[in-house]
Symmetry: C2
Subunit: 197 residues, 2 copies
DNA sequence: ATAAGAATTGAACGACCGTTCTAATTCATT
DNA sequence: AATGAATTAGAACGGTCGTTCAATTCTTAT
């Protein structure tokens, strides 16, 4: 039924795959449609057959990437039983799955006045997702008595910026060697919010 | 003593001033020579009379900015007597004087294959300067017994990435409101390295 | 007053950008 | 085999970019 020989879905997937790679490596401005075309093996014109423009393409990829990050975490999260374990878990998850460079591209796009407000809003909504995850963990820890009462908003920002800052190192160092640093950061942070017994 | 007959120094200063501003706001790629020309009131051609090209101009500004940051810190540092005070001091100094967006421009330039290796090296040398400052403070604290013995390299990276991550917030929030966060970060970090008595 | 040279302009260049358009090709249906 | 829609390529467009360069104005020394 309805078998297609040339199925443009494969083309679309190829383009998405290569575009994700290139945007990740070069950010938004520095990645050109031409390059994506060349890498994917389809003409520039064909990219515009599948996607309205470069901006929308990028936003879609960013959404896919963050969605992937989030669902992977949701799966992993259920394997941890305490908020403390979850905080270590999210640290590792961020290290190995966060696409820092893609987010960098999002900042480029957002800081360009020519970008559509719609795209900027979409990207902002994405950037906020990890913070929501951190907050939920901290909340849980406070509620079940693992962590002391405190300013959860502030804690969220503090752990979020720390993990975000550490992620910058992924540009220059291999992921595995960074794991002790992420663990150490979580340990230090935990020491200051853990309930004293 | 070869007194300047007539000086284009003012023009050069104007260009430097406006270029610093624009690079800070837009990063490297998104800032155009045209815009710098317009903002400074001098023609595009004249910018090339003073500077070899956009890349060299940017590197010069980054160097000036970091130099300024460093000397300002050197002055401030002498007013603190303990390593603990210095760590709080550097936190505030970073918050109010670190030009995060300019450094962002440096990353853009460095990740562009067309950039000269010379420029990339120069920018790397700059990016390393704050780390040297953090390290010196931690070293001092260990030597005079304020901080316990520990892995200073790791500590340096941890506090560096944390302050760096927090600096990202300067894009969207006003500096003063961020001060408690910086203080809190330093407090948490200190708690884990302070000598237990 | 004039010549020399520094400062400055503005037009022009080639390259690349994102995007559009047209035409060719391929496929499913008749 | 013919038709028509879906898919793909490739050329072309207008715009901006960084850069160059010849021409011009200004400043100073003679």
């Amino acid at each position: 039924m309805n078998k297609r020989r040339y199925n443009s879905e494969k083309a679309k997937r190829d383009i998405i795959e290569k575009a994700t790679l290139i945007f990740s490596q070069k950010g938004y401005n520095q990645a050109s449609v031409q390059e994506i075309s060349k890498a994917s093996g389809y003409s520039k014109g064909h990219i515009y057959y599948h996607f309205e423009n470069k901006e929308k393409l990028f936003v879609l990829l960013a959404q896919n990437t963050m969605q992937d990050w989030y669902t992977k975490w949701a799966v992993k999260e259920s394997s941890y039983s305490t908020a403390t374990e979850k905080l270590y878990g999210i640290g590792k998850h961020v290290l190995y799955n966060y696409q820092t460079p893609l987010l960098k591209g999002g900042q480029e796009l957002a800081s360009n006045p020519a970008s559509s407000l719609e795209s900027i809003k979409a990207l902002h909504d994405l950037a906020v997702i990890p913070m929501g995850v951190y907050r939920a963990i901290l909340q849980e820890g406070v509620e079940n008595g693992e962590f002391e009462e405190g300013n959860i908003n502030e804690w969220t920002i503090l752990i979020g910026t720390w993990l975000g800052g550490l992620c910058q190192l992924t540009n220059t160092q291999d992921l595995h060697s960074l794991e002790p640093l992420f663990i150490q950061a979580v340990t230090i942070f935990l020491a200051s919010i853990k309930r004293r017994i």
